[in-house]
């Protein structure tokens, strides 16, 4: 039997790990690098190159290099998010016949899962080399706040790479697994996960080997990229105030500014003040190239990004409320994700939770390690326990639905059937009346999201229940039951208890 691996498919970087001899370990590439940029570059022959080599191509050939594909996962081309993103990337986005995003590189069109599939395949190759054997199964992590379309896209990416995805789990949950495994802890832990693209917070109860998610919230547009964009805008504003020339309004200029902002962010971890220089942002009246140079110190940087940090705490408030806990009841805070160690983030988090954060793990690796642990307990080979049974070993995750599930009702409102943060597997039933007298069929539309309005939620599927008794509307009852399994399959059953008419639908809803 092959060893199942855990893959942290990150916005900026990806990492792969496996449990070897009972220990979760990061699998490094032949040069000993433990993480890989989630970047896919296409050469003249159209062959994809992934990771560090692709990263190097990003600066001089942005139009044929795809970075941060995760931000596009499961999104519609016409969504506001994609519009915003298209300004920040060097490659071209187009719309497919079904409204999905396509990435156009070197006259080829790729779906987003295909691009992410290249990254997964690259991680699998690294794992195979490190383990010296074939790898076919993996647990893959996603941000806790990913919706169902985004989770499905992640599964498609695994499929494109020929990987059997054992389970999709949430990044903060995975981090908590890696943190707590084998320690026999009894704690409330908050996982503050600030990555390249997204922010997640999960509050978990650890009781020895049982990990119960108590509250999860997040924002899929609140990561390091957004910090860089804020600082790049700051540079641009300052420059335009000082000089008369118009900055070139093109992608390459903007990408260079973003890169400068990222370098400033990294450098400020060590120094108090840094200088950035971005050549060729404009052409002066004399026809010379203008260099944008600026100095930024820690205080100014903090002022520029503070609104973004504050927004993460609003999300923290939300998750604590869902968990029914206050900051003083949190026993430990884990910082996860590349951005979490930024000088001002750590300080602000300690201030918010009123306690020092735990620093004894690597924020870039802990998610992959947790995924490996879960992969091991779902698919690994286990030593027989004392009674001869393969010991149901490894930690047990009691997870929740991160978003509410409901059905559309009259007037464009959603009635929640399974509220967010419900433990799964779960089952809930509600009763409805048809909207009109003598109505013999109803359309059941299934939505995911928190808004009360239909059009602000994700439509997951729909079906028709017919054979209703033609009678005054208040005499007819429709029974709607939602069932969710541990592996995230939702089963929606609509029933007319009087006529016995019954219809159902299965939706593969990926669990965290």
């Amino acid at each position: 039997m092959t060893i199942p691996v855990g893959i942290d498919l990150g916005t900026s970087y990806s990492c792969v790990a496996a449990v070897i001899d009972g220990q979760a370990q990061v699998l490094a590439d032949d040069e000993g690098r433990r993480v890989q940029p989630s970047v896919v570059a296409f050469g003249y022959d159209g062959a994809p190159v992934v990771g560090w080599r692709a990263q190097r191509q990003l600066m001089y050939a942005p139009e044929s290099t795809v970075n941060s594909p995760k931000r596009l996962m499961g999104r519609r081309f016409r969504s506001a998010e994609v519009k915003r993103l298209s300004l920040n990337v060097g490659y071209e986005l187009t719309e497919s016949a079904s409204g999905e995003v396509l990435i156009r590189v070197r006259d080829h069109e790729y779906t987003v899962p295909q691009i992410s599939g290249f990254v997964l395949d690259h991680m699998r190759n690294i794992a195979e080399k490190a383990l010296g054997q074939k790898v076919s199964q993996a647990v893959i992590t996603v941000p806790a706040y990913f919706n169902d379309h985004q989770r499905q896209a992640t599964r498609e990416a695994a499929k494109a790479a020929g990987i059997d995805c054992l389970r999709i789990i949430n990044e903060p949950t995975a981090a908590a697994l890696a943190y707590g495994v084998g320690q026999g802890l009894k704690q409330n832990v908050a996982v503050y996960d600030l990555g390249g693209g997204t922010f997640d917070i999960s509050v978990m109860r650890l009781e020895d080997d049982v990990y119960e998610v108590q509250g999860t919230a997040g924002d899929t547009f609140l990561g390091g990229d957004d910090y860089d964009a804020a600082v790049a805008r700051h540079f641009l504003k300052g420059f335009q105030r000082r000089s008369k020339v118009n900055v070139r309004d093109n992608r390459v200029t903007w990408l260079r500014l973003l890169e400068a902002a990222e370098q400033a962010k990294i450098a400020l971890g060590e120094e108090n003040e840094v200088e950035i220089n971005v050549p060729g942002v404009a052409r002066s009246a004399e026809g010379r190239d203008v260099v944008l140079s600026a100095r930024i110190d820690r205080l100014t940087y903090a002022q520029v990004v503070m609104p973004l940090v504050q927004r993460t705490f609003q999300v923290c408030d939300e998750s604590l409320k869902l968990a029914g806990l206050s900051t003083s009841q949190i026993d430990n805070v884990l910082l996860v994700g590349g951005m979490a160690r930024l000088f001002l983030v750590q300080e602000a988090v300690e201030h918010y939770f009123q306690r020092p954060v735990s620093l004894d793990h690597n924020p870039n690796e802990v998610v992959a390690l947790g995924a490996a642990i879960q992969a091991h307990s779902l698919g690994g080979v286990h030593e027989p326990g004392p009674d001869g049974a393969p010991a149901p070993s490894g930690p047990l995750l009691l997870d929740v639905t991160p978003r509410s599930l409901g059905i559309g009702t009259v007037g464009g409102y959603v009635e929640t059937i399974i509220p967010r943060n419900s433990s799964i597997p779960s089952e809930q039933t509600k009763y409805f009346h048809p909207a009109f007298d003598k109505q013999t069929e109803v359309r059941i539309t299934v939505y995911q999201g928190e808004s009360r309005k239909v059009d602000q939620n994700e439509l997951l599927g729909e079906f028709v229940l017919d054979g209703l008794r033609p009678a005054p509307r208040h005499e007819v009852r429709v029974e709607i039951t939602f069932e969710i399994d541990a592996d995230g399959i939702v089963h929606v059953i609509a029933k007319d208890p009087d006529s016995g008419s019954k219809r159902d639908m299965r939706i593969e809803l990926d669990r965290r």
């Binding site: 009781e207 080997d209 049982v210 049974a389 597997p425 039933t429």
Partner: protein, 191 residues
């Protein structure tokens, strides 16, 4: 021999009994169990019966049964871990209702939520609209407007307890404001 035989028998047996189990029985608890013992009992059941514990067994039927069982266990835990909801359940259980209906549960949830956030109290869009306007008037100190908007809201949701409460609150405020005005000794207006 099937190494999982014990677990298998336990799941088959529980699944057959599922319709007859109340929330205490599925978690192997006595009805008078101290509140503090509910959490550990749920974890004990989870360790044994959670569907993920069967992930490596190639038996879809058994897994589906484990999911059925654990759905009930989750429901039991969700309702017993909150003392208020547990008390409501106990009353129903005395009358032979093994499960708290979704409506009973959501009523308890809604009441709890409405206490913290009055905006959640409305159940119709129109009721919500007028209720929000009433709250805005209240915030502006316009008690007369608040009473008026509350009455509009009540036309759409006559039985809403939160609305009734707010209406009487607004009416009181309006009366006491009117009373204060009457007590005003300076009954002169600048011409």
């Amino acid at each position: 021999m099937d190494p999982m035989i014990k677990t298998r028998v336990e799941i088959e047996t529980l699944h057959e009994l599922l319709e007859e189990l109340d929330y205490y029985k599925i978690l192997l608890l006595e009805r008078d169990v101290p509140q503090a013992d509910v959490d550990p009992a749920f974890r004990t059941v989870s360790r044994k019966l959670h569907p993920d514990r069967l992930a490596r067994i190639d038996d879809e039927d058994l897994k589906s049964k484990a999911n059925d069982i654990f759905r009930l266990a989750n429901e039991a835990y969700r309702n017993l871990k909150d003392p208020d909801i547990r008390a409501r359940y106990d009353m129903g259980l005395a009358e032979g209702n093994l499960r708290l209906s979704a409506d009973g549960r959501s009523k308890a949830d809604k009441e709890a939520a409405a206490k913290n956030n009055p905006e959640l109290a409305a159940t119709t869009p129109q009721g919500e609209k007028y209720f929000k306007m009433a709250l805005k008037c209240w915030g502006d100190g316009d008690f007369r407007g608040s009473v008026m908007q509350m009455r509009f809201a009540m036309q759409f949701e006559p039985g809403n307890a939160v609305f009734v409460e707010w209406l009487s609150k607004a009416e009181e405020a309006l009366e006491s404001a009117a009373a204060k005005k009457d007590q005003n000794p300076y009954k002169l207006r600048i011409v």
